[in-house]
């Protein structure tokens, strides 16, 4: 073997399994996305709500130890007044024991954590990362490079989706599990583990509910155009317009029927907004008060959206090769 040779040399090493190549695509996507300063800032900010929610868990647990749960709920009630599910927590505290109250309160906090700060951050994060994932490959014809290798369409899509899975996990699963651990550590009563053991599993389930439909939709948008800005615009427009439409329709029913009609209106128009549809299903995942018919409709809407998005995505990814 020469010490130095600029000529061509053969290669005869061991080739890795053909079925893990999607991980290479995922790694490339993660590295490229990580170069965005805004993304790194966003990931940092995503952990702050966990600290904020941790304070509430600390207050609740200390109040529970001193038997002042009612008082502390009365004091923090202002912050949760507009949340219908909070009434169920207060009722549980009044009628049930500490176990029920604790579970309800923790589940409510985790649901709120997913619903508000992380939900909004999810929209921004996916809007930053997803447009580049496939539309850029279509523009630069990189699919010819990918698909001339031992890679199937499914593996390509899985690799791209994993980029979003990883970043969404960094703002949902990891902070939520950290919040749970923080709550356990800050609680003076180790019985909290016995009362809330199912919550980490619910966190994982809620993350799946959040990540899979949004990833499918975002990649679908990215595959529909060669211009990343159009994919980004479509993503944000879907959430913002859905939100506005939901609020407008709910407000109209509220004006017509008053406060009694609010819950019905909210359930009726949930599927107009992906954000609210996700919240409705996550509500069920965390075992909070929910209307089964509305939850079923929301889950069905998410499932249909996911299946349609994946179908369009697979067709669009292979379409340049069919020419």
């Amino acid at each position: 073997m020469p010490t130095y040779d600029l000529g061509y040399c053969g290669w005869s090493g061991d080739v890795r399994s053909a079925y893990g190549r999607w991980a290479v695509i995922a790694e490339m996507g993660i590295r490229l996305a990580w170069r965005s300063t805004w993304l790194r800032r966003l990931l940092l900010v995503a952990w702050l709500p966990a600290v904020y929610c941790g304070i509430f868990l600390f207050l609740f647990e200390n109040a529970a130890k001193s038997g002042a749960t009612q008082i502390i709920l009365g004091q923090v009630g202002g912050a949760f007044r507009s949340i219908p599910e909070f009434a169920a927590v207060r009722e549980a505290v009044e009628t049930g024991g500490l176990e029920t109250a604790r579970h309800e309160f923790w589940a409510l906090l985790l649901w709120l954590f997913f619903r508000h700060p992380q939900g909004v951050l999810m929209v921004i994060l996916v809007g930053l990362v997803s447009p580049n994932l496939i539309s850029q490959d279509l523009r630069t014809k990189a699919h010819l490079i990918y698909f001339s290798r031992p890679i199937s369409t499914w593996e390509y899509v899985l690799g791209k989706a994993t980029v979003l899975f990883v970043y969404l996990s960094l703002i949902t699963v990891l902070p939520a599990l950290s919040l749970y651990l923080l709550g356990v550590v800050l609680s003076p009563d180790l019985g909290v583990i016995r009362h809330t053991w199912d919550l980490p599993l619910r966190i994982l389930a809620a993350s799946v509910v959040l990540i899979i439909p949004t990833t499918s939709l975002a990649l679908c948008y990215s595959s529909l155009t060669r211009e990343t800005r159009y994919a980004g615009f479509a993503w944000f427009a879907t959430f913002i317009l859905g939100w506005v439409a939901f609020m407008a329709l709910t407000a109209r029913d509220f004006a017509a029927q008053g406060i009694d009609g609010l819950a019905t209106a909210s359930g009726r128009w949930t599927c107009v907004s992906i954000y609210h549809t996700l919240g409705r299903v996550q509500n069920w995942v965390f075992g909070l008060h929910h209307v089964p018919e509305q939850t079923t409709t929301a889950a069905l809407a998410l499932a249909i959206m996911t299946v349609l998005s994946i179908g369009i995505l697979l067709r669009r990814v292979t379409s340049p090769l069919r020419v």
């Binding site: 290669w11 190549r21 580049n132 630069t140 014809k141 010819l144 990918y146 069919r322």
Partner: protein
């Protein structure tokens, strides 16, 4: 059949491909021996579709075949893992530097991470890519992107290379170097190369075998030296000054003479031992000979004839 005892690395039998009602490939039968083969054809002849069928990028409608001994259409992982494909299109993975892109492609072909980086540098050295390998590929010129595409095609050391317009966009010097690299890979490292190109001088300079397609059909498949050989032994002569007297002298001997568009003279009916005779005729005609060589057929003319359908008996 495995690739070690396969007589031909590419074997296709009656392969057809329909896009809806349009037939892109019509009963294409083809064998590619271990050498450099030029795949020629006008635009829309079906060359790119044929390449995509061979790589499993599009499914063929009918027919059978083997690539490197693996069945066509069902063993795409095995085939793509052993084929180096250089697309004609300007394609790259945005955001990566040159060396990152070649390394990533090597990893997609199964090379371990560190080895892929080492191999990427090794191949970029071979392709003459200097420090620009650390620049983002978006900033590359057309010629640099051609070299990058070539590098990603050979980084995993495939036994079969399919190169689509490999010299497109290269300046004359880089074009010669690229062709020399291809010949090196074929002659010194045993690669089988299939070159799809419109540039006939590249084919004449590089290829051992020529395949011509038109309208989705295989029109001709033959060794280049056979195609080059005229129907009767001939000499090509270029003289200094006017060739009129020289031509008249040869015609006086009863030989057919063709005056080529570049002013050269092709003399038919002379074998390889006739050099002395030609020198004598030149002396008697009082002209100096600038160039003399055995005549070869014009590949351009063969191409035009085959595409027009005038010549397809060799298939």
């Amino acid at each position: 059949m495995n690739e070690s005892n396969a007589p031909h690395l590419i074997e296709l039998h009656n392969v057809s491909k329909f896009f809806g009602a349009f037939q892109a490939l019509a009963d294409v039968s083809l064998t590619v021996p271990p050498s450099i083969t030029g795949l020629l054809g006008p635009n829309g002849a079906g060359k790119s579709t044929l390449i995509k069928v061979m790589l499993g990028l599009v499914a063929h409608s009918s027919g059978t075949g083997h690539i490197l001994g693996f069945p066509l259409g069902t063993a795409f992982r095995e085939i793509r893992g052993r084929v180096g494909y250089m697309p004609e299109d300007d394609c790259y993975i945005a955001g990566l530097s040159g060396v990152e892109m070649v390394r990533s492609v090597a990893r997609l072909s199964g090379l371990p991470s560190v080895e892929a980086l080492r191999r990427a540098h090794e191949i970029l050295d071979f392709c003459g890519t200097e420090q620009e390998r650390y620049r983002p590929v978006e900033t590359y010129s057309t010629g640099m992107r051609q070299k990058l595409k070539f590098a990603q095609a050979i980084v995993h050391d495939p036994p079969l290379l399919i190169l689509d317009e490999p010299t497109s966009g290269l300046d004359p010097r880089e074009r010669q170097i690229m062709l020399a690299r291809i010949r090196t890979l074929a002659e010194k490292h045993g690669k089988t190369v299939l070159i799809s190109t419109h540039i006939l001088p590249d084919v004449r300079a590089t290829c051992d075998h020529v395949v011509i397609m038109a309208n989705g059909q295989m029109r001709l498949s033959e060794r280049l030296d056979v195609l080059n050989r005229p129907e009767s032994p001939s000499y090509f002569v270029r003289v200094m000054g006017s060739s009129t007297a020289f031509v008249e002298r040869i015609r006086g001997e009863g030989h057919a003479v063709v005056i080529e568009p570049d002013g050269g003279v092709t003399v038919r009916g002379l074998d390889e031992n006739s050099c002395g005779t030609i020198w004598r005729w030149a002396e008697e005609s009082n002209v100096g000979i600038r160039l003399m060589r055995p005549a070869v057929n014009s590949l351009e003319q063969i191409f035009v004839d085959v595409v027009r359908g005038a010549r397809h008996a060799d298939v």
